[in-house]
Amino acid sequence: MTEEMKCLCEDVTDEIKCSCESDNVGIFPCADASNVGQISNMVAVKLAKKGVGTMMCTVGIGGHSPGIIKSAEGCDCIIAIDGCPLKCTKATLEHAGIPISKHIVLTELGIKKDHNLDILPSQVEKALAKVADCL
C-alpha cells in the first residue's frame, strides 16, 4: 500500500479533516500556469499526505481517462481547488458530471494571482492553512 493509493478500508486520521466526513475523498487541484495554480497543486499534495483524501488528476477528467473518471465517480466527497476565478477545475468536473462537495478558489482567500511559478514553501503553508479552514 502506498501513499498514492488509498484503500477504502483504511482509517484516515490526521490534523485536517474535511467536514464532509466521507471515507472516500477526492482532491482535484487546477495546477495551472500561475502561482495560484502551482500553489493549488502543492496544497492538494499536502492534503493528500495528511490523509484528507486522495489527490486525483483534474487533467485526466478533461482527457476523458476512463479509470480516472470512474475513480472520481467512486468518491463520496469531491474537493475542487481552483487557483483563480476562471474556475477551470470546477468547470472540468461539472462537464464530466462529477458533483463537487467543496469548491475553493485561492484568489478568494486573499492570494493574489501572478505568473511567478517559483512558489515558496511559506506560500504553500499559508494557503494550506486557509484551505484547511474551508474544509
Binding site: E4, M5, C9, N24, C57, P66, G67, K70, G74
Partner: protein, 76 residues
Amino acid sequence: MKIEILGTGCAKCNKTKKIVEKALLEIGVDAEIVKVEDFDRIISYGVMITPAVVIDGEVKIAGRVPGVDDVKKWIT
C-alpha cells in the same frame, strides 16, 4: 472474457471478488478472474482508489464494491 479485480488485498477488494464470482455463477457465464494487487498495474488503468473492476480492459467501477446486479449488467 477477462475480469480483473484491482485492489491491494483488503476486505472490500475480497468482497468485490466474491460478488463477481456470484454474478458469474448466477448467470452461468465463464470468465477468467484475475486479482491484481500490483500497484503499477492498477495505476496503468488510471484507477486511483480501490476496489475496482476491469472487464476486458475497460474500467467499470472504482472506489466502490459493486452490486451483483451491476456485475451482471456488465457481463451480459
